[in-house]
C-alpha cells in the first residue's frame, strides 16, 4: 500500500500511532500483565476497571476486544489454569519459542516447533544481556514469553532507535498469528463455556496486541482491520 501522502485514512492511522503505536500503551501493558501472569483477584479487578475503559475510548468500535465481555476473575483463572499453564495437556503458554522452529538444520536435536529456549529466546536473552536488563529467574526458560516481549518492546520503543525497535517488533511478534490459530484449534470443540468465554477475550486481546505492535494499523484501513477481527 502506498504510504505517501496524507489521506484521511493515513491521518487516522497516524493518530493511532501517536497514541498507541509503536508501544502498546501503558494501559494495555497493564492488562497484559494481568492476563499473561497469574494475577490476584484484586489485581485483576483493578486492571479491568482502570484499563478497559481506556482501550474502549481509544479503539472503541474498531476493535473486537471492546465488544467482548470480559470474563470474571474465576472464569479467567480457570482459563489460565487450563490453557496458559505450562505442562497441562492442551495448554498453550504464550512463549515465542514454542511456535517457531527451534533452530536451523544444524542446531542439533530439536527440529520443528514445540520447544523452549529456541532461537527467539536466545535472541531476547542476548538483547537483554547487551542492555544489562535482568530477566527474572522465573522466566529463565522463557525470556521470549509474550509478557516480557511486550515489556522489552515498550522499552525499546521508548529508548532505542526507531528502526531497531521496529525490527525487534517484526522479529518477535510475527508468531502471534500462529499462536492465535493454535488457540482457535484448541478451543474449537471446547464445551466448557467459561473456558470458551475467557478464551474469546484473551484471543481478542492477543490479536489486538499483535496488530498494534506489528503496526498493521498503518498498513491497512483501520476500520477494515478492526472489523475483520
Amino acid at each position: 500500500m502506498e504510504r505517501s501522502g496524507q489521506s484521511g485514512r493515513d491521518q487516522l492511522a497516524g493518530q493511532l500511532r501517536t497514541t498507541i503505536v509503536p508501544t502498546i500503551g501503558s494501559h494495555m501493558l497493564d492488562i497484559a500483565g494481568i492476563l499473561l501472569s497469574r494475577a490476584t483477584e484484586v489485581e485483576y479487578a483493578c486492571a479491568m476497571q482502570a484499563c478497559l475503559p481506556r482501550i474502549d475510548e481509544e479503539l472503541g468500535v474498531h476493535d473486537a476486544l471492546a465488544r467482548t465481555v470480559p470474563p470474571s476473575y474465576d472464569e479467567y483463572r480457570h482459563f489460565f489454569n487450563r490453557v496458559l499453564t505450562p505442562g497441562i495437556p492442551g495448554s498453550l503458554p504464550p512463549v515465542e519459542s514454542l511456535f517457531e522452529d527451534w533452530g536451523g538444520h544444524r542446531a542439533g536435536l530439536q527440529h520443528g516447533q514445540g520447544f523452549y529456549l529456541g532461537r527467539s529466546a536466545q535472541h531476547v536473552q542476548e538483547v537483554c544481556d547487551s542492555l544489562e536488563i535482568e530477566v527474572p529467574e522465573a522466566y529463565k526458560a522463557v525470556p521470549d514469553h509474550l509478557l516480557l516481549l511486550l515489556e522489552l518492546n515498550e522499552f525499546l520503543c521508548d529508548h532505542a532507535p526507531a528502526d531497531q525497535a521496529h525490527l525487534f517488533a517484526e522479529e518477535h511478534f510475527g508468531w502471534l498469528s500462529d499462536y492465535l490459530d493454535a488457540l482457535g484449534a484448541r478451543m474449537e470443540n471446547e464445551d466448557d463455556e467459561a473456558l470458551a468465554s475467557a478464551a474469546s477475550f484473551y484471543c481478542n486481546f492477543v490479536d489486538l496486541v499483535r496488530r498494534v505492535v506489528l503496526d498493521e494499523w498503518g498498513e491497512n484501513d483501520v476500520r477494515e482491520v478492526a472489523q475483520s477481527a
Binding site: S26, D30, G33, I34, S37, A39, E43, C46, A47, A50, C51, R77, H78, N81, T85, P86, G87, I88, P89, P93, V95, G103, G104, R106, A107, G108, L109, Q110, G112, G114, F115, Y116, L117, G118, R119, S120, H123, E126, V127, S130, L131, E132, I133, E134, V135, P136, A138, Y139, K140, A141, L152, F155, L156, H159, A160, P161, Q164, L167, E171, H172
Partner: protein, 714 residues
C-alpha cells in the same frame, strides 16, 4: 491505578537506558539466519538414555549450555556406540512444551494451580504424617518405574516412613514371567545369541523393542551367522524379516507349544539326561505331566502344525546345548494371560531339558555387581518396616523386588490405602484397566506424582512435583551385570532448563525433611555417587571421563552350571513353594482365561521401536514416525478382511469389554487369521495431549484383566 495493582515491571530495566544511550544501538539483527547454529563452549558429558528402561550409555554433546547432539558410548554394552531413534527423540523432552515446569496442586474444580515447593512440601508432609499417624505406615504406598536412581531413593523414602509398601510397574509388564523364572531357576537369564546355533524367540522382537547392541548382534547372527532363528508370534514382527522361520501361534497358547516340545524331548529321549539328573528337581513329575501333551494335542490349541512342533523340538535338541528359548519380556507372557506364569516356568523347564544353562550358546545366568555398604554416619539406613507389604500375602510368588502394584489398587478401592506416591509411572494409562485405576485413586486421600510430564496419573494426583529431565541431573550409579560387571554414570549435562524443576535427590531430601525423616536423605547426589563408587574403588572423575567402567568382580565362565537360587538349588519343575501358594506345583497346562466368541478376534499388542508406552507419545517427532508409516492401524489378516468385506485403510469399529472406538485397518498376511493387533502406542485417545492428538496408548492385553493373574494367585 496504584503501582501495587499493576503486574508490570517483570523486566528489570535499571541501567538499560543508560547502556543504550552510550552504545547508541543494540545488536538487533541476530534473530534469524546467523543463529542457525548453536554457539558457545562445546562440552561432552556421559549419561544414560531414558527413552526406555534399557538405559543405553550415551555421550551428550552440548554447545553453549544447550543440548546439541547425542551419540552412543562405544564402551557401553547396550548402546555399543549407537543410539536408536527413540533415544534421539526422547532427548527432545528436555526442551519440550509438554514438560512440567513448576509444582502443581489440584484444586476442587479439578484445575491445577502452581504451588511453591515449600508449600507443597509442607502440605504433603502434614497430610502424609497425619495419615501415617491415623492409619499406620501400611496405608502408604510408593510405586515407581524401577530405574537405579529411584531404586535407591524410593525404597529408602518408604522405609524411612515405616512402610514396606514399595512397588514397581511390573504387574503391568513382566512380573508373571520374572516370578516364574524366580521360582524355577532362581532368577532371570539371558540367551547367548552370539554363540548359539538355534534360538527361539517367543513374542519378543529385538527389531521392535530395540537395544542397539542387541539389534546389531541379532542382525549379524541372523544374516551372516549359522544360527537358526525362529520367531514364534501371531504376527510376522520386524525381527521375522531376518529370521529363518516364522511360527504363527494363537495368542496365549505358547505354553502348549512348550509342553509339547518338552514331550518330544522326553519321549524321544533327546533331553540332557546328565544335566537333568544333577540339576533338576521334579523331572519325573513333569515327565508324567507332559505324557499327554503331544504335538497333536498342542496343535489343536496353539494352531501350530504338529510336525512343525516336533521338528522344532528335535532341531533344538540337536543344537543343544547351544540352543535356547529366549527369555522374552512382556509381549507374549510377561503378564498378559492367566497362564503367563506357567508359560515362563515351561520356558525355564525346556531350557533345562536342553541342558543349556551356563553353556556357550545357551541360557546364561549371570550376576550383577553390588554397591558396598555406605558410611552409616552419612547414609543411615532406615529401620525395617514393621508390617508385611500389602499384597505379599495374597500374591506370595511375586518377585520381592517388584511387588504387585495391583495390591495397591485393591487397597485403594476398598479404602484402606490412604496415600499413594508415583515416581514416573503412569498407572492411570500405562497399566491395565485405566478406568479402575482412576476409580481407585479417586478414593485415596493423598496422591502425589513426581514426573517430568503431566501423565494421566499426574492428572489424578493431588500434588504434582516436577522433576528435571534426565539430561539435567546426576543420579545414583548404575551397575550392569552379565558376563562382565560394569558401572555407569548418568551425569548432569546441562543446567536445569526450568528453574522450578528439581532432581529426584533434591526432591526426596526436601520432602523427607517435611515428613520428619530428613536424616535419611541428608546428602547430595554427588556425595551419594562418590560414596557408592568408593565402595567399588572408583572415583566420580574416572567415571565421568569414561561414562562406564568395567569392574573385576564377575565370576562368569562358560561351561560352568550356575547356582540356581531356588530352595533346592536346582531347576524346579516341581515347586513346593508354588504348590503352597495354591498353584500346580508341577509345570502343566493351563488355558488362557478367555477365547473369542463367534465373530470376535484375539487381540494382541505389538511394540513400536520408536515408542515407549505413554512416555514418548508427547514427542512430536516420534509420533510423526508412527503416523507417517501408518503404525496406528489395526492389523487384520487378509482372509479375515475378505470374509468381512473390509478393504485396506477402511475404518472399522472395534470393541471390547473395556472400550469401543473406530480405527483404520491394515490388511496383511503378516498376522495369523483370527487375530487382531494394535501397536501399543495405539488404542485410547488422548485428546488433550498436544502431540498424541489422534491415537495414543492402551494395553491391548488389558482386555480382559482380572485379579487372578499369576503373580502369585493364592
Amino acid at each position: 491505578m496504584s503501582r501495587q495493582m499493576t503486574r508490570r515491571g517483570f523486566l528489570r530495566t535499571g541501567a538499560a537506558s543508560a547502556v543504550l544511550a552510550s552504545a547508541g544501538a543494540i545488536g538487533m539483527t541476530g534473530c534469524g539466519a546467523q543463529r542457525e547454529e548453536l554457539t558457545g563452549e562445546a562440552k561432552r558429558t556421559a549419561t544414560l538414555c531414558n527413552g526406555c528402561s534399557n538405559e543405553c550409555g550415551l555421550w551428550v554433546n552440548t554447545v553453549g549450555g544447550k543440548v546439541h547432539t547425542l551419540e552412543g558410548n562405544p564402551d557401553n554394552p547396550k548402546s555399543g556406540g549407537r543410539m536408536c531413534g527413540r533415544g534421539h527423540g526422547f532427548a527432545q523432552m528436555t526442551y519440550s512444551a509438554d514438560r512440567l515446569t513448576q509444582p502443581m496442586k489440584r484444586m476442587e474444580n479439578g484445575d491445577f494451580e502452581p504451588i511453591s515447593w515449600d508449600d507443597a512440601y509442607k502440605e504433603i508432609g502434614e497430610k502424609l504424617t497425619s495419615i501415617l499417624a491415623e492409619y499406620g505406615p501400611e496405608a502408604f504406598a510408593f510405586i515407581r518405574d524401577p530405574r537405579p536412581n529411584i531404586n535407591f531413593y524410593g525404597p529408602r523414602f518408604a522405609a524411612a516412613l515405616g512402610s514396606a509398601n514399595i512397588y514397581t510397574h511390573a504387574a503391568a509388564c513382566n512380573l508373571s514371567l520374572q516370578s516364574a523364572y524366580r521360582h524355577t531357576i532362581g532368577g532371570g537369564f539371558s540367551a547367548d545369541l552370539a554363540n548359539a546355533k538355534m534360538v527361539m524367540f517367543i513374542g519378543r522382537s529385538y527389531a521392535d523393542g530395540i537395544t542397539p547392541a542387541d539389534m546389531k548382534l541379532f542382525a549379524n547372527v541372523a544374516v551372516e551367522g549359522d544360527c537358526k532363528i525362529v520367531i514364534v508370534d501371531p504376527r510376522y514382527n520386524n525381527s521375522a524379516h531376518m529370521a529363518d522361520q516364522w511360527v504363527p501361534i494363537v495368542p496365549g497358547t505358547d505354553l502348549a507349544l512348550l509342553l509339547a516340545m518338552s514331550h518330544v524331548l522326553i519321549e524321544e529321549e533327546l533331553y540332557d539326561a546328565k544335566f537333568v539328573k544333577e540339576h533338576v528337581l521334579g523331572f519325573y513329575a513333569f515327565k508324567k505331566e507332559v505324557e499327554s501333551f503331544t504335538p497333536e494335542w498342542a496343535s489343536e490349541i496353539c494352531g501350530v502344525d504338529a510336525e512343525v512342533i516336533a521338528t522344532l523340538a528335535r532341531e533344538m535338541a540337536e543344537a543343544a546345548p547351544a540352543a535356547v528359548v529366549e527369555p522374552s519380556w512382556r509381549a507374549a507372557f510377561g503378564c498378559a494371560h492367566a497362564n503367563s506364569f506357567m508359560t515362563g516356568r515351561a520356558v525355564a523347564a525346556f531350557n533345562a531339558l536342553l541342558g543349556n544353562y551356563g553353556q556357550e550358546g545357551g541360557a546364561l545366568i549371570t550376576s550383577s555387581p553390588s554397591i558396598g555398604a555406605l558410611p552409616a554416619d552419612k547414609f543411615p539406613t532406615p529401620p525395617a518396616a514393621q508390617h508385611v507389604r500389602v499384597g505379599n500375602e495374597e500374591f506370595p510368588l511375586a518377585v520381592q523386588g517388584f511387588g504387585t502394584n495391583l495390591a495397591v489398587l485393591k487397597a485403594a478401592l476398598d479404602g484402606t490405602m490412604k496415600a499413594v506416591f508415583f515416581y514416573q509411572s503412569n498407572a492411570a494409562k500405562g497399566y491395565a484397566n485405566p478406568a479402575v485405576w482412576e476409580e481407585g485413586l479417586s478414593k485415596v486421600d493423598l496422591v502425589v506424582s513426581i514426573d517430568v510430564q503431566m501423565s494421566e496419573t499426574a492428572m489424578l494426583a493431588d500434588y504434582v512435583l516436577p522433576e528435571c529431565s534426565y539430561l539435567e541431573r546426576l543420579e545414583a550409579v548404575y551397575t550392569l551385570g552379565g558376563k562382565k560387571h560394569m558401572v555407569a554414570i548418568r551425569d548432569k549435562a546441562i543446567d536445569v532448563v526450568h528453574p522450578e524443576t528439581r532432581p529426584a535427590d533434591q526432591i526426596f531430601r526436601e520432602l523427607s525433611a517435611a515428613c520428619g525423616v530428613g536424616e535419611y536423605f541428608d546428602f547430595t547426589a554427588e556425595e551419594l555417587v562418590e560414596a557408592q563408587l568408593a565402595t567399588l574403588g572408583l572415583t566420580i572423575d574416572e567415571l565421568r571421563e569414561k561414562g562406564i567402567v568395567e569392574l573385576p568382580t564377575s565370576d562368569f565362565e562358560y561351561g560352568k552350571v550356575p547356582q540356581f537360587n531356588t530352595p533346592s538349588g536346582k531347576v524346579e519343575l516341581f515347586s513346593v513353594t508354588i504348590g503352597r501358594a495354591g498353584l500346580s506345583p508341577v509345570i502343566t497346562w493351563e488355558d488362557r482365561k478367555v477365547h473369542p466368541e463367534e465373530g470376535e478376534f484375539y487381540f494382541v499388542g505389538g511394540k513400536q521401536s520408536i515408542q515407549s508406552h505413554t512416555m514418548t507419545t508427547s514427542i512430536e517427532s516420534l509420533m510423526d514416525i508412527s503416523k507417517t508409516y501408518d503404525l496406528e492401524r489395526l492389523w487384520m489378516n487378509a482372509s479375515d478382511a475378505a470374509r468381512l468385506g473390509i478393504a485396506e485403510g477402511e475404518t472399522v469399529e472395534m470393541s471390547s469389554s473395556e472400550y469401543t472406538d473406530t480405527i483404520a485397518v491394515h490388511v496383511t498376511e503378516r498376522l495369523m487369521p483370527g487375530v487382531s493387533m494394535l501397536p501399543r502406542t495405539t488404542a485410547v485417545r488422548r485428546p488433550t495431549f498436544r502431540r498424541a492428538t489422534v491415537l495414543a496408548y492402551a494395553r491391548p492385553t488389558s482386555f480382559p484383566s482380572t485379579w487372578s493373574r499369576e503373580w502369585g494367585r493364592p
